[in-house]
Symmetry: C2
Subunit: 723 residues, 2 copies
């Protein structure tokens, strides 16, 4: 045995010996039994020295319980999957999808069909079918056991099986012995039954293939609701056969056909994902009125809105015509979308058309409706009756909450956790979206820290807590389109997915970030373009005459900036953006969270925590800062040739200035005595200037450099405690 | 005017002034007439200072004649295209495709339909229709005139129009004033009428969507023949309705349906591309015999071949059954593939089955057939009659050339230019493929230097020269699959495309490489994955637990290696590769030509040409070498965790050793006196060791480091002359 171990060790180590290299190579690459010989034997006998640890497993979302086993399960081209217990075509498709994905991850030539025999590497035992139409609160649990001999996935229904297969895919990784899945016993189920992603495909149309690959991404991180925002001032995106003027006149020809919608729903169902459509009423509705001005509260005609913001047009809640129309429309859509829930929007009605309409004002007086809020509550009550008539349960944004509405409605909170808790107290079910708006450009860690059960919700009774169904991340699309939308959703959405699936106690941002890198790479196998879009967009900005060095300089800058946050993009715009504005600027191209900036910040924190004594970190910081300081000189020639680079020339100078400040701080730190106050004041003044957005971009390493300045000002050694 | 110029200048320069920045931004991004004001006026009045120069235009292939105009044509969202003269649906689709591509390149929201009015930014005037089935030697010329006021594209037929649109797309680039096309007058037509790419989709099946995006790439570089290698020992890839056992038993289920084939032909025709099918006969034919063993010259049964190489199975040329079968098969395929040419392969028949078959030997004696070559000529004569019967002209590899065959056949030379010239002398038409084999891993410059009219062909008479129709690059697929095939074709194929289109005098490799970078970036907009595949494959190799620094270290190494060249991949393999071998190793992932390695070589050449006196270049070389020397230490931890990285651990050490030698040479050079001979001998001995392939990889910077060593040995100053 000792001999065998050491031979294996040598074979695995020594790439320079042809004979042994040959063995190693065969071992990785073949599984047809030819040429395994000694090494394969070794693999069978060799006791594994490492054991899987929960936090070294790159699983996102982290399962409820992970017990490390011994060794790992070899994954080679003989890998097979068998279905035991309940089977159905959806499960077979899930297995084929799984095998395809495994083949993509590993490049192993796998047979892509479930095995016919009960003997297989992975055996899936499903107890019974799930509901014909997926419901909230179905059992999604699964148990996954992996040993050196094989793997077993057990789940009550196909929903759990689908989730467990994703966990298995994340376990498979290259190891010193080839591809393998760590031996492990996992018991898992979601913390919340509603884990959604909303995509606004109304403001900018998002083609169906883009939605599809995002559903693949959702499956990978176990999200189970796709909330499809289908109507807006800027577009009506679903085909209506009964009321065709809606999509014909309200969409610029950019809409989903009913066939596409049905296909997408089936695609989602395969992945354990419900599809909840949203048709926003009574505001956010200009696009409806292009074809149906008679439904509005103000005189037409209407045109598709091109600007962003909250606009006046709103349905006339006092006209019976409105309800007859909605009855017909919702009747049609209720058949198209099988889900139990029907989202009616309900947000941001500014009431101006109501105020200006004589008839509406008379109606309010006649019916004792005191204000616009009450008028919207009246509308919602009527609307709820229509929705219920067609067999659906109404869901809407905060604004639909009114004690006069039945408890059957569900509130999606965009305003904050307080309104969610208040709704739960009043007996309404609710979802949190406040804190999960992907378009606001927050770092993943900030979303990750938002918990539906925090704040007021923490003090709810168990029964009230039950009413908090979960949450939804929201991808509003003022500044995204097919080209960059994946990058605005991923990988940050995976952090939200973990928040909604994993136990509350899983909340270490450092672990999350490590695993986020890994899941982000894995998501690429699904065809998501959240990484590949970037260079392409930068190439457009740089132009085809950019030299490789110039392109690198551009990338160095853009890797360190982020678009302005929250709602400041609109405010910092120097020319008003519309739905027709090209999205080809640096602000459209850079990721919403700068990895390079974050890592530099971590490095500075580490340096400061050593009381600035770690010479190796200091050297690394200096290398970064020198590169950044000198980058502007490399970039400026390109800025002279490309207007899109020219726009960020100022930020490039800023980066240089910031790096100079950082270098000056490093220099001061190395003297190990407090730098003069005048110097500190000067540096901080520079930094304050740099903090201002320019070209709608923020320079990300500023806080880290500020820490260096502070360290320098205090003489380095004393600042460790400040952390 | 002066005031206006300087204001524009300031507006374009000063990114820090919000007001001016706003104007700049509007100018780039909008064309709806809002907010243009002063700046737009300036743009109209501002005389352009730069004039377009032929060699600064990033056009590939370079047109026959390019005359620089003054200024450039603004390309914004008002851009439109009108069709004048002859129109047909194919032209309208070409315009839509062009507009879509322009929108992708610029992210401008363009209207994607041809304009209804004769007023448009670009007016296309086509004289008449091209042939219903595209023929060799049709007029593909076009004239493109771009001025500040508009653009005009004139072409005899849609073929020229399609080519001219691609030239226009390459003219559009970001400029100091936004997107623009340089003012220019271009007259253009191809040097050769046959400019092909062959893809072998038989050895490894290449999915139809991969073929499709490669046709897009061909259109971009004006190639006009897709040669589809559809049958091999390893697979029969076309559906036959009359003889379904061919694809049912010969393809592992991986074949193209007739509907897919028809769609692809239409797709190609839209792009001015002919599709020539190849069914390889009488050798390379094992896959046919799985379903039809009765056609072979040896006893069956047969199985799909998994190994690579030349194998014994061959059609029985003495049996009438063979010709009846081929008559039926070719009859069916001749209808499916409309092109005039039908490729019958004909290469590499080893004759072993013929030698061993008693009946065949008797037949040869009875008919006075002296040897196997003569037997194959007999087969080809019979085959040619079948091909002709079905209205096609036969084309095949070198081996079909025999004086007994009619002059109507065409020879594709894989053996060399001599055989091509010999064929032309004998009255046969021919194509060059020798020198254009993309799978051999040559640098683009080497393919670029191969000319169909060089060698013996240069001495042919004008009439004989006419018979040389052009050439074809060949992508044989032993070591490519859907994941990496784009990267094996592009961008190098663009250099071959230029060789076949542009005048013979266009042959400067430096210019070619500059433009290759640019076309490579543009090809990404077509969905080609020749750049994006790389990181994904490296991620698989590194595993998801690799840290960012480790991943960078892997990339640093892999950027400096290339797979072994020519046919040595087979020879250096330590375990025999088959069609089922996973292609997940570094050798499968790295590009076939290392840009980093090439650029380092150029830098060394430049350094040496300054007699090693340029301190800035010296510093840059040192930076590279230090990074490489220290890279191995960063990579080794990852090699311990990933078997796929472990395989290249030896090469990583080699890179470190090479860089140390380079640093030692730089150090010696800086002393400016000849380094001792013993040192030189020692360094060269190291280099000789490093030249040996390891893990089937070559270390690319070796010759460049050798030059440094030589420079050091001669004291630096004297080696400039050696260049």
């Amino acid at each position: 045995m000792t001999v065998c171990v050491s031979r294996c060790y040598i074979a695995a180590r020594n790439g320079m010996n042809p004979k042994r290299e040959g063995l190693t190579q065969t071992m990785i690459l073949n599984s047809d039994g030819r040429g395994f010989g000694l090494v394969f034997l070794c693999l069978l006998l060799l006791p594994k020295l490492t054991t899987a640890q929960q936090l070294t497993l790159n699983l996102t979302p982290m399962p409820v319980s992970v017990q490390a086993g011994t060794g790992s399960l070899r994954v080679d081209s003989s890998f097979s999957v068998a279905l035991a217990g309940h089977t159905e075509p959806r499960l077979e498709r899930a297995v084929e999808r799984f095998l395809q994905q495994l083949a993509r991850q590993t490049a192993l030539p796998l047979s892509l069909k479930p095995a016919k025999t009960p003997q297989a590497t992975l055996i899936i035992r499903t107890d019974h079918a799930s509901k014909e139409i997926e419901e909230v609160d179905e059992d999604e649990s699964y148990v996954l056991e992996v040993s050196t001999a094989g793997a077993k996935l057990t789940a009550p229904t196909p929903l759990g099986a689908v989730h467990g297969l994703q966990t298995f895919l994340q376990l498979v990784d290259i190891s010193p012995d080839g591809f393998a899945a760590a031996a492990v016993a996992i018991q898992d189920k979601p913390r919340f039954p509603w884990r959604g992603l909303m995509i606004d495909s109304a403001r900018h149309f998002i083609p169906v293939e883009v939605i599809r690959r995002n559903l693949d991404g959702m499956e990978a991180v176990k999200m189970n609701v796709f909330h499809w925002h289908l109507s807006e001032n800027q577009g009506f995106r679903a085909e209506s056969k009964r009321l065709p003027k809606l999509h014909e006149l309200g969409s610029d020809g950019l809409y989903y056909t009913q066939e596409e919608i049905r296909d997408l729903i089936a695609y989602a169902r395969d992945r354990g994902i419900r599809v909840v459509p949203e048709f926003d009423l009574p505001g956010h509705s200009t696009a409806w009125f292009v074809g149906h001005p008679e439904l509005a509260s103000g005189p037409g005609p209407y045109q598709i809105e091109r600007r962003w913001g909250v606009f006046d047009p709103a349905f006339d809640p006092t006209s019976e015509r409105t309800y007859r129309f909605l009855d017909e429309f919702i009747g049609e859509m209720a058949k198209l979308f099988p889900d139990q829930f029907f989202h009616v929007g309900g947000d941001e009605v500014n009431g101006k058309q109501w105020d200006a309409n004589q008839q509406i004002q008379e109606f309010m007086r006649a019916h004792g409706i005191k204000n616009n809020q009450a008028l919207q509550a009246y509308f919602n009550k009527r609307l709820q009756a229509v929705v219920e008539k067609h067999g659906k349960s109404m869901i809407g944004w905060d604004e639909i909450l009114d004690p006069s509405l039945p408890k059957d409605i569900t509130i999606q909170s965009w305003r904050g956790p307080a309104s969610l808790a208040a709704a739960a107290k009043q007996g309404y079910r609710g979802l949190l979206s406040n804190g999960y708006y992907l378009d606001l450009g927050w770092p993943a860690a900030r979303h990750y820290a938002v918990d539906p059960m925090s704040g007021d919700a923490a003090n709810l009774s168990p029964e009230e807590k039950q009413r908090i169904l979960g949450g939804e991340s929201c991808m509003w699309s003022e500044y995204v389109n097919a080209e960059n939308v994946d990058s605005r959703i991923w990988p940050r959405n995976a952090a939200i997915a973990e928040r909604l699936w994993s136990p509350e106690e899983v909340h270490d941002p450092a672990s999350m970030y490590t695993r986020l890198d890994s899941i982000s790479a894995r998501l690429e196998w699904l065809g998501l373009t959240h990484r590949t879009y970037y260079r392409r967009m930068l190439q457009r900005i740089a132009g085809s005459a950019a030299t490789p060095d110039e392109f690198t300089a551009l990338r160095t800058l853009t890797d360190l900036v982020e678009p302005v946050k929250d709602y400041t993009r609109q405010q910092t715009a120097l020319a008003e953006a519309t739905s027709l504005t090209p999205m080809n600027r640096v602000v459209d191209a850079v990721p919403l969270e700068s990895d390079t900036g974050r890592r530099f910040g971590e490095l500075v924190d580490k340096f400061v925590s050593t009381s600035c004594l770690d010479a190796e970190i200091e050297a690394r910081l200096r290398t970064h800062l020198l590169l950044w300081r000198d980058n502007d000189a490399k970039l400026q020639p390109l800025a002279q040739r490309s207007l899109l680079v020219q726009e960020v020339a100022g930020r490039s100078q800023d980066l240089s200035a910031l790096a100079s400040a950082g270098l000056s701080a490093l220099h001061a730190v190395s003297k190990r005595q407090p730098a003069p106050d005048t110097w500190k004041v000067q540096q901080f003044a520079i930094m304050e200037q740099l903090k201002k957005p320019k070209a709608q971009l923020l320079l990300i390493p500023i806080p880290a450099v500020q820490k260096l300045v502070e360290a320098a000002a205090s003489g380095g050694a004393c600042v460790g405690a400040k952390q």
